[in-house]
């Protein structure tokens, strides 16, 4: 059922890396070629100059996305790390459709 033509898994993390270990666990298990989307409080992971930024550097082969509305709501939209692709809710939908499966790390 999982189409080999689709990209791999989309990992969704919605909690701050300072609050929960969801991001750390997702990165521990995410395979190269998969995607990671930060939403809600998870967007704090893509803010420049934090200790959490190092975690993302270790995300080899995982493409990182962040939900723009959540960045903007939290006032961190101008402090995003280089190389992070920002998406809106439509982009969120596209990401889910393009990946073979989606896993929320709750």
């Amino acid at each position: 059922m999982s189409s080999s033509a689709s990209k791999r898994m989309l990992h969704v993390v919605n909690k701050s890396p300072f609050e929960r270990d969801a991001l750390a666990s997702a990165l521990r298990m995410a395979q190269a070629g998969s995607g990671l989307l930060l939403i809600e409080d998870g967007v704090y992971a893509v803010v420049k100059g934090t200790k959490a930024a190092d975690q993302l550097k270790a995300a080899n082969g995982v493409t990182v996305y962040a939900l723009w509305p959540d960045l903007e709501a939290r006032g961190v939209q101008d402090r995003v790390l280089e190389g992070i692709k920002m998406v809106d809710y439509g982009g969120f939908v596209d990401l889910v459709a393009e990946h073979a499966t989606v896993q929320s790390w709750l």
């Binding site: 919605n14 909690k15 809710y89 439509g90 939908v93 596209d94 499966t101 989606v102 929320s104 709750l106």
Partner: protein, 119 residues
Amino acid sequence: MKFGIMISEGPYTHQATDSAYMFTKAALAKGHQIQRVFFYHDGVNNATKLTEPPQDDRHIVNRWSKLAEDHGIDLVVCVAAALRRGIRDENLAPGFRISGLGQLVESGIQADRLVVFGD
């Protein structure tokens, strides 16, 4: 594509139901279908008609009821989780129906993607 949505937290306390709502609206706008929205754990609290949020804030329950009405979306509340939390037919908001956990598993089978929004 057909999406199944699972919402595991109640209104206002967590952003989960807001994120799910925005996702659902965006999916519909792109021409996708919503196979079902299933409310579990404290998510069942999205289905009570007794909420009265401040006037200047979004009305989460009514928003779901309206979306269901406008687009014919199946909003399902888990009966066991609902009974634990006092959500019953007599206080159920319009557009929601109470059913069993099988509806969640079925959604996983029938939908192309199942997205979980929780804590």
